[in-house]
């Protein structure tokens, strides 16, 4: 059966890099059935850029966060396979082909990640480049930005918790693990993560600790109750 792949690409004020990310999806050796861009209430040109891009289905919502945006996309997607990409990252031309092949090889596979490489966004001035640490080697990209997953498998675990701003995928994956979903990590590097400066990211550190601890404490409690 030919897989129908729905791309989910959430964006919030991401006009600067959105076109490049979309272009990396247009260049796939195995084209997606649809590209669903979820605009999370951007105040810049993100929605207009997405609407102009050939083959894009645009969903717009009032700003509700990344998890809520992904949920909206997931609900609207029609493909039997879902692939996620962040609005500033780049997919290798063979990303969809190689990930879809993993599902062909293994009919019981639920989800598939790829390795991830980092790059410094080329327009950055030297002083900003100096503040960013770019990993020299690709590493396993165990994050939602490299994930391809059967739509049914995703929904069997449930939608993402929109209350979590940073730990929603960690939480979801913990639940998926508990339910015995099967994931594969491809050895190929199929997503390029763009590094650029974001000081607000650093300011979120307090929230990160709280969310991670809360999600992991719940996972520990589930494990104890199963014993």
């Amino acid at each position: 059966m030919t897989p129908a792949i729905s791309i989910l690409l959430p964006v919030y004020n991401g006009q600067q890099y959105l076109r490049e990310s979309l272009a990396s999806l247009s260049a796939q050796t195995l084209p997606p059935a649809e590209i669903v861009v979820i605009d999370d209430g951007s105040t810049d040109q993100s929605a207009a850029i997405a609407a102009d891009f050939p083959g894009v289905t645009l969903i717009q919502q009032a700003n509700a966060g990344a998890a809520a945006a992904r949920n909206a996309g997931l609900t609207a997607a029609t493909g039997n396979l879902i692939a996620c990409l962040d609005a500033d990252d780049l997919a290798d031309p063979k990303r969809l082909e190689l990930q879809a092949a993993a599902f062909d090889r293994d009919p019981d596979l639920d989800g598939c990640f790829t390795h991830l490489a980092e790059f410094l966004s080329p327009e950055l001035p030297d002083d900003e480049r100096a503040q960013l640490e770019c990993k020299a080697e690709a590493a396993p990209g165990a994050c939602i930005g490299t994930l391809m997953i059967r739509r049914d498998s995703f929904l069997r675990v449930g939608l993402l918790d929109p209350e979590l701003r940073v730990a929603y995928f960690l939480q979801w994956y913990g639940l998926a693990q508990d339910q015995g979903l099967r994931f594969e990590m491809l050895s190929e590097t199929l997503v390029q993560r763009r590094l650029h400066l974001d000081n607000t990211g650093r300011r979120e550190k307090g929230r990160l600790a709280k969310e991670y601890a809360k999600v992991l404490a719940a996972k520990i409690a589930r494990r104890r109750s199963q014993k």
Binding site: Y12, N13, G14, S42, D44, A66, D86, A87, D88, D89, L116, L132, A139, P140, G141, A142, C143, G145, R165, V166, A167, F169, L170, Y173, G174, Q177, M185, R193, R194, L195, H196, L197, D198, T200, G201, R202, E204, K205, R207, L208, A209, K210, Y212, A213, K214, L216, A217, K219, I220
Partner: protein, 130 residues
Amino acid sequence: MSTRYQVSGPHIVHETIDDEVVIVNMETGAYYSLQGSGQAIWSLAEAGKDASEIDASFAAAPGVEPIEKFLQELVSEQLITVSERAAAAEVDVAPGEFVAPALEKFTDMEDFLLVDPIHEVGEQGWPNKP
């Protein structure tokens, strides 16, 4: 000379949830749960108390030996390190009765914790990178 400690660095994130401390080492991807009096010992050590001061803060002092042993466990997991810091000011931690402290380590989410998640957040828009 008393030995005092500090949390090893900003890569160690920790939160107290109900009666449990959850600690995540963002550099190794391991996470930990502290139970029993582990929570109180962690909080007091983090505030700069040494083993004998921690011992004395319990309702019935258990002796420094189990406390030092637990602190050593935290050191060997690289969650805290020996520090030259001065004696701590009074801290608002009332440990109550001593209950054998327990450190539990989990490594089942390593890959996920090692992928930096901060890039997905930011008031300027997301995804954004640290």
